[in-house]
């Protein structure tokens, strides 16, 4: 009982601190007080639905940096909050009962990029953990944004996860697709190349920087460079 009391005493200021931190960030970036209040209101309502607050503050800051009018910032933040709520539900139904904020954000961005809720669910199920779910969703969204059908993009990602391919290969898929695109392949052809029946070669891609050590600046090496 005593521990419960202490936990409650400590939790309340922590929540207050989280809200205060968002307000502080927005004010520090120069957002006017009325806009800060509106964003905070949206964040508070979203938090009650299990939506993380920090990405909403990031979205508001992005809009302010881009000189977006405050009214449109508010509507953009509101839209993003709603999308994150839907994304959170999809992620939870995929098996992550208490997903971290980055997974919800990745799912929201993926749904904003054209993935359906059941496709998000498929990726989360295949990932099995939050650590793999977020990059998996990002890759699927990126492939979709490059023109692949969302169903095809999700199949590629789910297959890579089920075959337990290294995360490096999964995260390389957008670069591989971009490289194929630069070689003149259509989105359909790229999808076919990356699809599971092409086995290892499809997933590993064909660009030439596989052996380049990590953290090496690009330099003048057009043959080895991968365009995003």
């Amino acid at each position: 009982m005593r521990r419960l009391v202490v936990a409650a005493l400590l939790a309340a200021p922590a929540a207050l601190a989280a809200q205060a931190s968002i307000e502080g960030r927005l004010i520090a970036r120069g957002l006017p007080a009325d806009l800060v209040q509106q964003v905070q209101r949206i964040a508070t309502e979203a938090a009650a639905r299990g939506v993380p607050s920090a990405p909403l503050a990031d979205k508001a800051i992005e809009g302010w940096a881009k000189h977006v009018p405050p009214a449109r910032i508010v509507s953009g933040v509101q839209l993003f909050a709603g999308r994150m709520a839907d994304a959170g539900a999809a992620v939870r139904s995929g098996g992550l009962s208490n997903p971290p904020g980055n997974v919800i954000v990745a799912a929201a961005e993926a749904m904003g990029g054209g993935l359906a809720a059941d496709e998000v669910r498929s990726v989360v199920r295949a990932a099995g953990s939050a650590e793999e779910a977020a990059p998996g969703l990002s890759v699927a969204a990126s492939l979709t944004a490059q023109g692949l059908a969302s169903k095809q993009a999700v199949s590629i990602v789910v297959d890579a996860m089920q075959r337990r391919r290294p995360m490096s290969q999964l995260l390389d898929l957008p670069s591989v697709a971009r490289s194929m695109h630069d070689q003149g392949m259509s989105a359909g052809e790229i999808g076919s190349q990356l699809l599971p029946h092409h086995g290892d070669e499809g997933a590993t891609g064909r660009h030439g920087d596989r052996d380049r050590p990590n953290n090496v600046p690009p330099g003048p090496d057009p043959a080895g460079a991968v365009r995003p």
Binding site: G24, E62, Q169, P228
Partner: protein, 219 residues
Amino acid sequence: MTDGRAFGPETQRYLDGEPSTAPAAGDRASADRLVGLVRSYAESLTPVDPALDEAVMAAVRRRGAVPQGRAGAWHWLVTSHRVAVRPVWVAALAAAAALVVWLVPRAPVGRGGERPLALAPAAGPDTVFVRFELVAPEARTVAVAGSFTGWRTDALPMVRGANGLWSVTVPLPIGEHRYEFVVDQTRWVPDPTAHAQVDDGFGGRNSVIVVGPKGLVRS
């Protein structure tokens, strides 16, 4: 002794309590008188608290064990102490900490005049160098701003090269990043060579880059 003479050896042994001694009668009387005086003086003293001995010895032991000066302070810091705190003080201190967090970053900054930010993402084991490039011969300044700069426009200025090619190489954490180029500090331009372009939620487009652990990325 009382008359200025020292006691003889026999009298001194008598005063020491040796039973077989027999001092001279005059010396014995003087000695007995002296003993009486000492006894009456002793009886006039206030009795000593029996716990004083233990208290004094405990203090001596502490002083012997605890080093003084800085070492003493350090010893005090690393030694466990029994402290009684009311729960309300825990809540009050936590609330005070939250208030400090709330107050510290409140200094407003103008919309156009964001604080200079010297921090680009630091290189580490989970970072990959990404080279951003944009051909903009007419531009006076070009910067890259995105989720990795907190959308600050002054964090990653690009350098002009030959033929109006602006570039900067940045260590980025593995994962997805969204960004745009900022031309002449006012115009936001998506990267035409990014992995993807997505809606930014404000009617514009963000460029997307997915950085893998091994992939060398060039924009």
